[in-house]
Symmetry: C2
Subunit: 551 residues, 2 copies
């Protein structure tokens, strides 16, 4: 018997939830006080809730189990919403503990009173206000079970202050997990037939399909049946590098992704959805599956991905097939004029085995996947929900989940500023994170988007909305102000010195890379010329693209 | 005829909505492009949505009309939610324009798809997704009407990209405003009877009741009938200073507020609610109206406050009564050991007439209202919804609404970090704002709250959650990194030099005041000794308090 808060933390820890990213207020003070009663729980303070939720997202991606967040009523949850959105879209387990007023205080509509459940529903399929100390731990266990999925989910347990402070709670053991099922025989048979028949076919991998064990199985299937492998445009977590099967990512730009998918007769989905355009554009298609292409779902979000792939492998007789694996290959050290491209090349050349790359560099990171393709095995984490401000917080969570691995976080100047407070937590926790901020002094991606949406009439006022030159942001000062060792690089040589220093010196580092905008000012019709060198796009596709978009 | 975006901006401007605080993305690019078609619309870019919404809140408080925000789908709205909460609780008009995917794109559940309406409902009684370009301006006019109230409200117009980019919209004229009614005769009669009868009575003023014209009328009523005047604990905007009626603010701490309200027979509400405790505490009352005290509502949120007060004034025959007015009085220049108190005293001594003080300093600002009571007339803006991170953004909006007035924003180190990106917009727009950040290297208020909630067992882990020492934040570097002239003050003399420099030099300034925590480490039972000097609390109340809480 203990108070609600203590029993809750014990229940979390017993179920493996041993990390809590916090930004507490008065209504969470009993939870805070109870932290010391459960030594196994690590509490990591953030200065802003979006840092806490983004860190929980990164932790969940790398640990394959939820971290908890501790948030202060509806407003704290609101501040954390954007990064919870990314977790939701990435099917990442996250358990929110949101403090609330005491149950009897709600009626008075005090200043911080708001409808927390409604806010939570946008990101969290499971939401419950725990109404009694006696039921609190049961509610928590249920939330943990929901979180873990599959699919991984955000669950939100709202904890009224009196439920937290009252006595009479008893910790309960972790929930039983029902193992997910594999695809049924009819589905396996139909997809086997498609793979063994003629025509052009591809498997689109998302979620758990991009992890090493699944990749090894699906690569055998692909080799056996002559099937192309694609990764969804913004993978939650993708294991890649030398020795793993290479997988071509669908491009962010629908114009490009359409070319990648051209001519397909069968598209088979593994833990992902049919590909669609990120945004809608006047006169352009949103749905990217080519007409006449047959769509199959091999493994849904709720199913056992690895088991299903193994079943399919057996059915197509791929068990002994040699898969195509990525050769070890480094791009060489960059030289010459400093650009974002040179940063990506440096990473490809120098990154250590086991690195975790968190990529939120939007335009500046375009060449990253190409240069790192043959680097030692690593994980790539991307912006699964499209809500920027995810990168630096995610790096915190990844570093805490994997303390022996180097985390390299790439952010743009625009995106870094949404959750810049993350740097403080990196310094406080002495995390082994190298944050590289591409400072091109613009919302560079929006300069491209302004053209893609064919908006006309844009003048000085419109352009000013995309411009971060006035005043320029100084990320070295920002990093130092929060205790992170920070350097500026304006040349390729400066960048290499700073990056090599950061790689060999444990703890957090920030490198501000002063680069020209990668795509700013670019006319849409010349995009393909630049993009033909993009990522995994081979020359024939780039040529086809050029014909298609810039005749 | 023009596209939706152009006609929308024209409709806004024609209704007086001439400022838009923006953080746009791709789905808002047509709105951005259309900015140049309507010269009267000022667009102010923020690096984070919470800055944009907080700025709109501050603008609405000072301009008495809504600014618009331009936000990027549900995640952008989520990031803006906390400061919209403060606007909602303060009954401040704010018009959100939230971009959304094109109507036909929603079905594909792309990465940024979420349920925007649900997120909005937490803060916005009026929410509508405009479904057609033809109806867009009608929807906008309705939203503007709702915003303006009374009560002022947050309204949210969701703007799908295709509704924005399609042709066929026609701007429409501003909505007709129905003037609010005054209190009915029966109410006036009943309250007149209470005021003219025996017993102890007080009028509690909120919202529009704390503006100069209403204050002058209510002060005559108070003088005529021997009635005490109180202000709600966290006023949206309070006009005060020499020549205006002084009004005693209810204390944040319920223990104190209860003492202030002790023995009342009648409490009369003007544009506010019955006072309640900010949070609930074990074993303490949430509802602060004393037992046996009769509660009256003179003017509700929807009524004409000034007209109602004038009606009551006539009824009680106070038209010719001389009101009690605040004498001109400065506290003198501070000397000696540097504390938060000395900063407040400096402000009281040196602030110019017409200043706007935005107070989010929580513990460090305790003495502010006392020291500024007799300063030249000014406005005081406080944390109406309790959601921190409001101060620096609010100062932006106040400065844009009142370009000829000096804005002084007080923040704590903890609270400043929620929306620190506000500094960049201050620099970009060259706003006349002095941001004073009290750096006590702690969530000092939580050290007090930890005791108030009587949480037991707190050890090192718990205390670490309230501690901002490791690493220390450097606000001078933070300010400079975003283009704001910044100085550090560790002594009273350094502070005075920096503050006087900032007062005579237009444009944004930041002063980091390195101060000891005002209340940290304090035992609850010694609180009254310290608090007896608080704000407007006269000695007898402090003595009563001491007897009551620390016998």
């Amino acid at each position: 018997m203990s108070n609600g808060a203590s029993a809750l933390i014990r229940t979390l820890v017993d179920a493996g939830v041993t990390t809590c990213f916090t930004n507490p207020g008065t209504s969470e003070m009993h939870f805070v006080a109870a932290l010391d009663t459960v030594p196994e729980m690590r509490a990591v303070l953030a200065l802003f809730e979006g840092v806490a939720t983004g860190a929980a997202d990164g932790y969940g991606r790398m640990a394959d189990k939820p971290a908890a967040t501790l948030l202060h009523l509806g407003c704290g949850l609101g501040n954390g919403l954007a990064n919870l959105h990314n977790a939701r879209k990435g099917r990442v387990p996250v358990l929110n503990i949101v403090g609330d007023h005491a149950t009897y205080h709600v009626q008075y509509d005090a200043q911080l009173q708001s409808d927390i459940e409604t806010v939570a529903r946008n990101v969290s399929p499971w939401v419950r206000t725990s109404k009694s100390t006696q039921d609190l731990c049961k509610d928590a266990a249920e939330a943990i079970g929901v979180c873990q999925g599959p699919p991984g989910q955000v669950a939100t347990l709202i904890l009224p202050a009196d439920v937290s402070w009252s006595e009479g709670a008893v910790p309960i053991p972790p929930p039983q997990i029902t193992p997910p099922s594999t695809a049924d025989d009819a589905t396996i048979a139909a997809i086997t037939q498609a793979l063994q028949g003629g025509g052009k076919k591809a498997i689109l991998l998302g979620g758990r399909g991009l992890r090493a064990p699944a990749l090894m199985v699906v690569a055998r299937i692909a080799a056996k049946t002559g099937t192309k492998l694609f990764a969804e445009v913004l993978p939650t977590r993708m294991e890649r590098g030398a020795g793993l099967p290479p997988v071509e990512r669908l491009a962010y730009m629908a114009e490009l992704a359409s070319v990648q998918l051209t001519g397909l007769d069968h598209l088979i989905l593994v833990d992902t959805k049919a590909p669609v355009s990120f945004f809608a554009y006047p006169g352009k298609k949103s749905y990217l599956v080519p007409e006449g292409c047959q769509l199959h779902t091999l493994a849904s979000f709720t199913q056992d991905v690895l088991g299903t792939l193994e079943k399919l492998s057996t059915e197509v007789g791929a068990g002994q097939t040699t898969p195509v694996l990525q050769a070890s290959k480094r791009p060489g050290l960059p030289r010459g004029k400093f650009t974002a491209d040179k940063v990506c090349k440096s990473i490809g050349e120098l990154m250590p085995a086991g690195a975790i790359i968190v990529d939120e560099a939007i335009t500046s990171g375009l060449m990253l996947t190409m240069y790192t393709a043959g680097a030692p095995q690593h994980d790539l984490i991307t912006l699964s929900g499209g809500s920027i401000g995810f990168g630096l917080p995610n790096a915190i969570g990844a570093a805490i989940a994997c303390p022996d691995r180097k985390v390299i976080a790439l952010a743009g100047d625009g995106s870094a500023m949404y959750t810049i407070q993350a740097l403080w937590t990196m310094a406080r926790e002495k995390l082994d994170v190298i944050s590289i901020v591409f400072n091109n002094r613009a919302y560079a991606v929006l300069n491209v988007e302004l053209q893609r949406v064919r908006a006309s009439g844009a003048g000085d006022k419109a352009r000013a909305q995309l411009d971060l030159k006035n005043p320029p942001l100084d990320f070295v000062q920002l990093g130092q102000s929060m205790g992170v060792a920070s350097r500026r690089a304006s040349t390729t040589e400066e960048f290499l010195v700073a990056f090599e220093h950061a790689l060999r010196t444990p703890g957090p580092h920030l490198i501000e890379a002063i680069v020209p905008p990668s795509l700013a000012g670019l006319k849409l019709r010349v995009l393909p010329h630049l993009l033909q060198s993009l990522a995994n796009l081979p020359q024939p596709i780039a040529r086809a693209l050029k014909r298609k978009i810039a005749p």
